[in-house]
């Protein structure tokens, strides 16, 4: 992890070249390898957008744009999210300046003249924060993806349960309506026969013929139900395979 921190891209912004050099040297001594610099505060926004540094060391007192103005620009561009912390560089260590910088989104301060140990510690601590924050973000995103996957699986299995339920309801409906009709006819005809009822409009032969027809109708319906039950089972097996 120390290597990750030392490879972090750090942008130094100061209108005084000498200050930039001092900081660059200090960081190089402590093993930081990825330093970019600018002495023009007007270029910071573009550099931040295109090169995406992991940290900015930002001077406050500069011509054209102060460090506060630069933070304003970064904030408007949505770049002050905690993934690119800003350490303010200032010779003015008054409480007022510190308050203002903090309220505008700065994360820490380095007071000029710089102390090597302090520079290294503050930078490493902040980078560690960013590193942990990024880890957390990645974990959260992975978790979100997993939750989405699981939800999708649940929706799918729910759909297949509903489909099976429909099949069952369908079979129950057939059972109660379609099967009962010829069965009831059969029962009615048998009762008529047993009562010895026959007349011109319904002779014994007619009754027997109707019994036979109803029996065949019932047979067809039962065959159909068997087929439906088989198809439902095939569907269920397929769903389980998936």
């Amino acid at each position: 992890m120390n290597e990750d921190l030392l490879n972090a891209k750090i942008l130094i912004v100061d209108d005084q070249e000498s200050n930039i050099e001092v900081l660059e040297d200090l960081l190089a001594i402590r093993g930081f390898t990825n330093i970019i610099t600018s002495n023009d505060p007007r270029a910071v926004l573009e550099i931040a957008q295109t090169q995406k540094p992991e940290m900015i060391l930002l001077d406050i007192m500069m011509p054209y744009l102060s460090g506060f103005d630069v933070m304003d620009q970064l904030k408007s561009a949505g770049l002050l999210t905690g993934f690119m912390p800003i350490i303010v560089l200032t010779a003015d260590a008054t409480i007022e300046t510190k308050k203002k910088a903090l309220s505008m989104g700065a994360s820490d301060f380095l007071t000029k003249p710089f102390n090597l140990t302090e520079v290294e510690l503050r930078i490493k601590n902040l980078l560690l924060n960013v590193y942990l924050l990024s880890q957390l973000k990645v974990h959260n995103e992975m978790l979100e993806v997993k939750v989405k996957e699981r939800t999708l699986e649940l929706i799918k299995s729910n759909e297949s349960i509903q489909k099976q339920n429909e099949e069952l309801k369908n079979i129950a409906w057939i059972q109660s309506h379609v099967v009962r009709a010829p069965l009831a006819r059969l029962m009615g005809l048998v009762e008529l026969l047993s009562l010895g009822e026959s007349s011109e409009d319904l002779s014994t032969e007619d009754i027997l013929e109707h019994i036979s027809k109803s029996a065949l109708e019932l047979d067809d319906i039962i065959k159909d139900i068997t087929l439906k039950a088989y198809q439902s089972k095939v569907f269920e097996n397929k769903t389980n395979e998936n």
Partner: protein
Amino acid sequence: MKTNLLLIDDDKLFLLLNKKQVVNAGLHTHPETFLNAASALDWLNQNDQKDSNILILLDLNMPEINGWQFLDKVQETSYQSTIWVALVTSSSDLEDKERSLHYKQVVAYLEKPVKQGDLMKLKSIPALQSFF
């Protein structure tokens, strides 16, 4: 007092069976039979009169106008005749039974095949006393 008994079923055979059972049970000597609800409604419209009692054995599951739709039409129309309905169905469906409670005309729920015993029981239903 004029009494009429109507049998409505799209199945010719049930119509015939029910007619025989109705006559055998002594419910009515000359029941009218209809193969669809529309022709039964026509009959009602033409024969509606005061002091007329009509008992209808109504099949539920029919094409075009089913038993429920027939009942709705009867509810909507203010007939002068007194109309009672016994539902006749091949399915012993609890939902149907519950639904039938919403119609004041419905006095019985019979399962196919209608047996003489079931029809005899209609005679003891208090609401139907003025029919018999």
